[in-house]
Every structure is written in structure tokens, then in C-alpha cells.
Amino acid sequence: MKSINITKVLFAGIAIFFISFLVGGGSYFIFSGVFDLEPRAIWKWTPAQGFDMPAEWWIILLLLNIILAVVFAFIYALIEKGLPGKGIRKGLSFGIIVWIVGPIPALVTMYLMMNIATGALIYFTLQSLFEWLIYGAVISLIYKAENKL
């Protein structure tokens, strides 16, 4: 099994944890109109609420977000050699792969099973692609196979 640079995995995970708040969170505020599309009852959180959420919600958000961010950087490190491309292109490949197996099936399920505005689903489809391309690029820039401990 290949050796994995744990320091870089942690660093890449923490980097995408912060970027997710800037890119993901920021885009929700910029495109807040999406959350006004009917039916609105589906949303637990909307940009109109801002930071006004219970403490436990924040704890779960921050804790799971950082764990998942590190897990993704670890998965990248594990499968890096099998990903197409080199350098940042490898990261972009990773972003597209995660987008197809992650957000896409979830959004398809939401379309099929939930009462949710189609406009909101289109927005989340594009926004998640944008986000995952950035995450993939960031991970690949931080994590490079030749720099092993």
C-alpha cells in the first residue's frame, strides 16, 4: 500500500474546510433568492437567518465539516495515482469524480423524492460542481506525491 503524507492530508483537509465556508457559504448569500422559491418549508436554514442557529447545529456543522474535509483529502491521497492527469488537472479530475458520485445522485434523489423547487436543484447542481472543482484543485496543489515525509 502506498505511503500517505498525513501532514499534507491534514493541511489539505483544513484548507478545504475553510474554503467551503467562503465558497459554499458565500454563494448561498449571493444567490439567496434560490431559497425563496416555493416550496420554502423544506429549508431548515436559509441565508435570511444568517448565523442565527442553535449551538448544537453549529457544533455538528463545524465538526462534521472538518472531519469530512480531512476524509476527502485522505481519499485523494489514497487514490491519487489512479486519477487521470497531472498536478492541478489530477485535482480537477478528483473534483469532477466526487461531483458525479456525490452531489449528482443526491440531487437526482431530491428531484425524484422531495418537494423541492427545480430552480433550486439546478442552482445546487452548478454550485456543487464549482465547489468541487475548487476543492479538488486545492487538494492537488497541497498534496503532491513526490513530497513524502
Binding site: 418549508a41 476524509v71 487514490i79 456525490g102 452531489p103 434523489t109 425524484l112 423524492m113 422531495m114
Partner: protein, 156 residues
């Protein structure tokens, strides 16, 4: 890359997904998940037959499910050499690697952003672990590359 085996593995996953999903959602087993409040978020529930849904909905379901199943088998083929293990173990590792991407992130988003019952999110999170391990195992059994298949035979 063996394109024929990718397609066979993808189609097998597609068929198996339609066979095992009704077990997880059957009204006698876990259909109650859809009765947890708020129930008004569901467009379709297991209490409704598939044929009660519009034709466009059914076409979308079958076509996207098939496309995604084949893509997952294709992804397995791309990552084949990078996934640890051999045969069914390689497939199970692939399933485990897929789990955070295809289940944990969406379920995390649902919990944080949407009015879905916490128990329902927990149920989907566990149920999909079983599903994805089954899909990984199926792909691992069907998809093998020549030199790896030969190595496995030599090990036996």
C-alpha cells in the same frame, strides 16, 4: 480497461439497486421512516406505487440510475490499480471509499440545510452503507483486469 466488463458490472449494479432498494423501503420494514415529521417534504414515498408516478419521472429514474451505475463501474476501472486488495475485497474497499463521497456529504447537507427528520437521515446514512458495499462487491467480482486476474489465480 475492459469496457465490456464495465458495462456488465454497471448494469448488474443497476438491476441490484432496483432489487434491494424495495427491501429497505418496504412498508413492512422501514417504510415508517417516511412517516416521520415533516412528511410534507416527500414527493414519493414507498406507500405509493412506482406506476402512480408520471412517465417522465419513471424515465428519469431508470435512465439516470443506469447512467450512474455504469459510471461507478467505470470509476472502479479507472481507479482499479490504486484501490488496495484484490477481487471482492477490492470492491468492498472501493465501496468504503465511495461512501463518504456519495452518502456522507449529501446526508450531512440534508441534516444541516433541510427539514428532514434526524432519524430518517440516520436511517438513510446506514442503509446506504449496506447498499454501497453490495455495489462495490458486485463490481469487484465482475470487473477484473487480465494481469490482476492471473495474479489472483496464481495466489490460489
Amino acid at each position: 480497461m475492459n469496457v465490456k466488463k464495465i458495462i456488465i458490472a454497471g448494469l448488474a449494479v443497476n438491476v441490484i439497486s432496483f432489487l434491494i432498494s424495495p427491501l429497505f423501503f418496504s412498508t413492512s420494514l422501514f417504510g415508517w421512516v417516511f412517516n416521520l415529521e415533516p412528511t410534507n417534504i416527500w414527493k414519493w414515498t414507498p406507500q405509493m406505487s412506482l406506476t402512480s408516478m408520471p412517465a417522465g419521472w419513471l424515465i428519469f429514474l431508470f435512465s439516470v440510475n443506469t447512467a450512474l451505475a455504469v459510471f461507478i463501474a467505470f470509476l472502479y476501472a479507472i481507479l482499479f490499480k490504486a484501490i488496495p486488495g484484490t477481487g471482492i475485497k477490492k470492491g468492498l474497499v472501493f465501496g468504503l471509499l465511495m461512501y463518504p463521497m456519495s452518502v456522507l456529504i449529501p446526508m450531512f447537507s440534508w441534516y444541516v440545510m433541510m427539514n428532514v427528520a434526524g432519524q430518517a437521515v440516520l436511517y438513510f446514512t446506514l442503509e446506504q452503507l449496506i447498499e454501497i458495499l453490495v455495489y462495490g462487491a458486485v463490481i469487484g467480482v465482475i470487473y477484473k483486469e487480465k494481469e490482476f486476474a492471473a495474479k489472483e489465480e496464481n495466489q490460489l
